[in-house]
Amino acid sequence: MEFGLSLEQRQFDDSLRSFLTDRLPMERLRALAEPGGGYDEGLWHGLAELGLHGLIVPERFGGAGLGVLDAAVAAEALGYAAAPVPFAGTTVMAPLAFMNSATEAQQDEYLPMVAAGEARIAVGFAGLAGQTGTASATLDGSRLTGTISGVMDAGAATHFLVYLRDGTGALVAANAPGVTQSLHRSLDRTRPLADVSFDGSTAELLVAANDKLAAARRVLDAGRVVLAADTLGAAQTMLDRAVAFAKERVQFGRVIGSFQGVKYMLADCVTMLEPCRGMVWYAAHAQDGLPDEARLTACHAKAHVADVAREVARMTTETHGGMGFTDLLGLHYWFKRISFNRQVLGGPERCREEAAALQGW
């Protein structure tokens, strides 16, 4: 038994983190975030060199053939850097959708493009995800009509993949007739949300799974775990910065970290947050190899890490005092990242209700 990251996973994590530290100093992050498009050509191609795009695409389609755990490691690093990268949707959920719901021929057509970073497929759900907003799409034959609001990772999407309530996947090119997209800056300037409408748009159907609905849920679960990992990384940044600040800032002639009021808040943060790391690893590993626990742990990880991170975000901002509340410090990018991740693909209350339903409660 070995519960932890492998040497390869730690090395991948190190190289991704040093790349992101290098590419995203605060002023650069600020410049990229302000337009709110959630995508930067240079960053995206740089990540390609690290093999990020094909991370979980099977090797026979040009990917690295790794699992959701590896994706979670990457997501934590991206969250730590508040990187404006369409990762969860494009790099995790989309290839998983093909691996779960598509025929071999469809996989052969699209997965190599996904691995190369050429196809950026945003994934939306017409229901299922428990997200607020409009989620009404219907199929007539292979024609898709309706509107899905709040689609994440759509900033530079080449395709939209919409899962319908019965688990049918409908893939539509972003430039296909009848597709209208309006991209909104969100609270989290590093990631926008898109409202996408289809008006009889021609879709390629992904219906190869024996159990279509279960396949769609696997994609959703993996997305939730990856968002939990991103949240964990973002909360860790806030905690690290608060600890560093508390060691430097002097008031009443003392470094504020020596006051128990401050010290205890930070001790509470680490006590809540560190078990989330094991939880994210466990839930991610469950997606890869423990099918009986996959749904339950994904629901709980999405909910629990969001709740813990909200507290960490609040207390670490407070630790910074007035500076924490300014735009100048930039701490708010992580606060907002955590807030964004909480609401998309189902908030904590919804995820817990799904966990209850799973157990027949």
Binding site: S6, L69, K247, G257, C276
Partner: protein
């Protein structure tokens, strides 16, 4: 990431399962532990010792099985016994704290005299640490021992001494060098609880039971050789003891079991004919706790792996006591809320009988508060997490020059 067991551990697992199939019927009921082990427990302990499931890493010459320490083996043994609901052996302060301390620091005579009888359950120990005026500030202990004519003469008072009312021996932290700075003036003595001059008084707690005692010392004579590691080394020895206490992996089995009991309770309890598990507020509290327990179990798997690899878990280990006691309290809090008014009129069946669910939950609910205070209170834990874990500066010392240990 690999959650499967390797072949050698699978073999151990199979061996334990076979042992339990053959001998399991002789096991006493797990739990308890707040009273002197009865004959059935002592017989079972002997059987476990013979098979190497307790005292596994203790050298053969001191009564153990002499195996190389292996946390994964220990975890496999613990989880097999827990899964089969079989008593896994004595876990009192003598077994889990004093024995490893003596093996590390005791003299040959001390090891031969105490290790074997302690792991067999023939000698029960209590821990003489806390004092009325010195709880969290343990190093300020004022119970004194003076060397006269080959004996340490002990005077003073200890408090929060669990099991003192039936213990045979005590390991005692006392001041022998009053002129030295406080941390350097302590020694660690081993003494018989039947020595003249010892007065033990049960201390009734808010649970209604007497889990602890006050122990008074009036000119209690302890042979000079009953000191561990020498004069002025008491603080060091006490910390070795605490290290062994902390090195026991933060056990997630307890919160897992509690969660399962809680799920049953919320399924079976009703208000206005609706099971509580179908009521949104109760269900969501239960779900939140389930999420926490999943995180806690994963955290423990991580600590176990790090221990097996010889990695110091640092802050990840420091959070276990604080986080674990708080989680325990939230679990028992939901239980007493589910029992509600109907759970309020409870009566304990006493020390030697099994309590009903309402009594057990209500007592656990109160005892959990005690756990937050005992063994290094949670605020002390937060100091440790902040200062040693996050490297935050210490609170400035007030009047560091105050004389210690005089009078």
């Amino acid at each position: 990431m690999d959650l499967s067991l390797s072949e050698e551990y699978q073999a151990l697992q199979a061996e334990i399962r076979a042992f339990i199939a053959t001998h399991g019927h002789k096991s006493p009921k797990p739990g308890g532990g707040r009273k002197r082990p009865d004959q059935k427990t002592l017989d079972w302990q002997k059987t476990l010792l013979e098979h190497g499931y307790v005292g596994r890493t203790i050298p053969v010459e001191y009564g153990g099985a002499g195996k190389t320490p292996d946390v994964m083996e220990a975890a496999v043994i613990a989880s097999e016994f827990a899964a089969a609901n079989i008593y896994a052996g004595l876990t009192n302060q003598g077994v889990s704290m004093l024995v490893p301390t003596l093996l590390e620091l005791g003299t040959e005579e001390q090891k031969r005299a105490y290790v074997g009888p302690t792991i067999r359950g023939d000698i029960i120990w209590c821990q003489g640490y806390s004092e009325p005026g010195n709880g969290s500030d343990l190093a300020n202990a004022q119970t004194k021992a003076e060397l006269r004519d080959g004996f340490w003469v002990v005077n003073g008072q200890k408090i929060w001494t669990s099991s003192a009312h039936y213990a045979d021996m005590m390991f005692l932290l006392c001041r022998t060098e009053p002129d030295r700075p406080k941390h350097e003036g302590l020694s660690y003595l081993l003494l018989s609880m039947n020595s003249p001059g010892i007065d033990r008084r049960p201390l009734k707690t808010m649970t209604g039971r007497s889990e602890f005692n006050e122990v008074f010392f009036t000119d209690v004579k302890v042979p000079e050789t009953q000191i561990v590691a020498g004069r002025g080394k008491g603080w060091y020895v006490a910390n070795v003891t605490l290290k062994h206490e902390r090195s026991m992996i933060g056990n997630a089995d307890k919160v897992t079991t509690r969660l399962e009991q809680l799920i049953k309770l919320l399924r079976s309890s009703e208000i206005d004919g609706v099971p509580l598990i179908r009521q949104a507020e109760f269900r969501d509290r239960l779900l939140r706790l389930q999420g926490e327990v999943i995180a806690w179990k994963a955290h423990n798997l991580r600590l176990l792996t790090e221990a097996a690899q010889g990695i110091d878990s640092g802050v990840n280990r420091m959070i276990v006591k604080y986080g674990g006691t708080m989680l325990g309290f939230r679990l028992s809090s939901l239980a007493v809320d589910a029992l509600g008014a109907a759970g309020l009129p409870f009566e304990s069946a006493g020390e030697d009988a099994e309590d009903d669910d309402a009594t057990t939950w209500n007592i656990d609910y109160m005892y959990d508060v005690g756990l937050m205070i005992g063994g290094g209170s949670n605020n002390i834990q937060k100091n440790i997490i902040g200062e040693r874990g996050l490297d935050l500066p210490r609170e400035p010392k007030v009047a560091a020059a105050t004389a210690v240990g005089r009078g």
